[in-house]
């Protein structure tokens, strides 16, 4: 018997998960449809408000939907580890840790992305001709670059890794606890620690401005001298910084989640 990865076992595990969670899956799809309908409707209202002179950027909605869905699914995926008796039942099921992780990954990444994409493209596929017919001046921005933007990778994969890890280690209300921990960590690292560090390097620093979400955009700093001077910080090593946030850290979190699951005791 292959103790690491067996496709038959993986299939049986997938069947078990789907049989036990089909209602949740259906509810999730309905929620996605509702979210898309809401977004389409709110853009319709904005068009009416501006008499059709409004730019419609549909891609951020897709990215946001995928990221949030990935977070929710990753928080829900290993709910078999919420309580002691559930953990005991989960851990004695004859499947390997790799199979468990692989199934979670398949659901979290390709399935969620595909599902969000299909619902999003159906919603806008129906809405766009109606919009164009009623508001011929409406402009649709083709911002497809979001797809390969590092924000998307970082927010979705890093978040999914954090929520998976939280589910294994934090027990009850793991999703809320993880969300709280993420907020506190971000505040500590990018609020407290980053400013303290900058103060050590540049004692008369006044402020740190970040145009966008930290830390993936080059920040600018204000230094108090006789007059306030603003510098845009940039480095030749930025690629390394981005690589760490977009790929290394998410992979690291997923590996830690795998190892924690392997070492889980009840």
């Amino acid at each position: 018997m292959n103790n690491t990865l067996d496709l038959r076992r993986l299939r049986l595990y997938a069947r078990k998960e789907l049989r036990e969670n089909w209602k949740v899956l259906l509810l999730g799809i309905m929620a996605l449809v509702a979210a898309n309908v809401y977004v389409v409707f709110s853009d319709w209202q904005k068009l009416q408000l501006h008499n059709g002179d409004y730019l419609i950027d549909v891609y951020p909605y897709l990215i946001l939907t995928i990221s949030v869905s990935m977070w929710i699914v990753s928080a829900y995926m290993w709910r078999g580890f919420t309580t002691k008796n559930k953990t005991l039942t989960s851990l004695t099921l004859p499947i390997s840790t790799l199979e468990r992780l692989l199934f979670a990954t398949i659901i979290m990444v390709p399935v969620v992305t595909l599902l969000c994409y299909v619902i999003w493209s159906c919603s806008w596929g129906i809405a766009t001709p109606i919009f164009k017919q009623n508001f011929p001046n409406a402009k649709f921005i083709d911002n497809q670059h979001y797809w390969h933007h590092q924000y998307f990778v970082v927010i979705s994969l890093l978040g999914a890794g954090a929520f998976m890890l939280g589910r294994i280690t934090l027990g009850r209300l793991a999703a809320l606890k993880t969300l709280g921990l993420i907020a506190v960590l971000l505040w500590l690292v990018f609020g407290m620690f980053q400013m303290q560090l900058l103060h050590l390097i540049i004692p008369n620093i006044k402020d740190l401005h970040i145009h966008g979400i930290v830390p993936w955009v080059p920040p600018s700093i204000e230094i108090k001298t006789s007059e306030i001077v603003r510098y845009q910080l940039s480095s030749t090593q930025e690629w390394f910084y981005h690589l760490w946030w977009a790929f290394c850290l998410p992979v690291l979190l997923w590996v830690v989640a795998y190892l924690k699951l392997k070492e889980k005791q009840v």
Binding site: N3, R15, E20, N85, T92, V266
Partner: protein, 238 residues
């Protein structure tokens, strides 16, 4: 089949098992006895790889249970005291989980359910704790795994069901199978177990083959036996 050698285990500073060595073989129904908190559940979990020995080693069916390999997990079944079941019917449960156990017999499972008086089509979250436990016991017996671990299986069962449990467990015992039943309700296991292991203050204080005693002309009274073994090792406690 199962071997503990010089195992130590504790929760925090509290030492639960101290230098425990034990061998358990197939063809027996072991009664694992001990007071509350003696470490019976922990011992069962250690066999199944749910907790890890801090010192020493545990071998279960030639596997290191700590690795929780599917080849081991498909050969053992643990009936927990407070068992969790998903909200599906017993019929769906059997078709979903039975496939993970190569020797699982669906007909036997339904037969056991009938003997326990459990409706196979009722959702498990809508039935009582006792009914759920009967379903899990039936499933465990029908898996035909060589190693069956049961933690307080009679807790939550009514008197007729306890009798049915004893009957089914006795029928399920084969020379290839090892059944370990942990309990502090000694009376529930009488006339069922053939070997007794008493765990007390982190040690195995008694490991006796009851059949051998019976053959030697000593008809053992399990409760008296249990009390005597505790008295021997801690006279002030009993």
């Amino acid at each position: 089949m199962i071997e503990f050698s010089n195992v130590q285990f504790g929760y925090g500073r509290q030492q639960l098992m101290n230098d425990v060595s034990l061998q358990l073989h197939s063809g027996h129904i072991y009664g694992l006895l001990g007071e509350n908190g003696a470490g019976k559940t922990t011992l069962l979990k250690m066999i199944a790889g749910l907790v890890f020995a801090q010192k020493g080693s545990v071998t279960t069916l030639q596997h290191n249970p700590q690795k929780r390999q599917p080849s081991l997990l498909s050969q053992l079944y643990l009936v927990a005291e407070d068992t969790y079941t998903p909200n599906v019917s017993a019929r769906t449960y059997a078709s979903t989980y039975g496939v993970f156990y190569p020797k699982f017999e669906e007909n036997t499972f339904f037969d056991y359910l009938q003997k326990f008086g459990v409706n196979p089509d009722q959702k498990l979250e809508k039935v009582s704790f006792g009914q759920r436990k009967k379903m899990v016991i039936s499933f465990a017996l029908a898996t035909n795994v060589p190693l069956l671990l049961m933690d307080e299986p009679t807790n939550g069962l009514d008197i007729p069901s306890k009798s049915t449990f004893r009957q089914l467990a006795a029928e399920a015992a084969t020379p290839e199978r090892c059944i370990i039943i942990s309990t502090h309700q000694v009376r529930d296991l009488e006339r069922l177990i053939d070997s007794v292991v008493v765990l007390h203050r982190g040690k195995i204080v008694l490991h006796e083959d009851l059949n051998a005693l019976a053959d030697a002309g000593q008809q053992p009274d399990l409760e008296a036996f249990f009390k005597d073994s505790l008295k021997t090792y801690s006279p002030q406690a009993v």
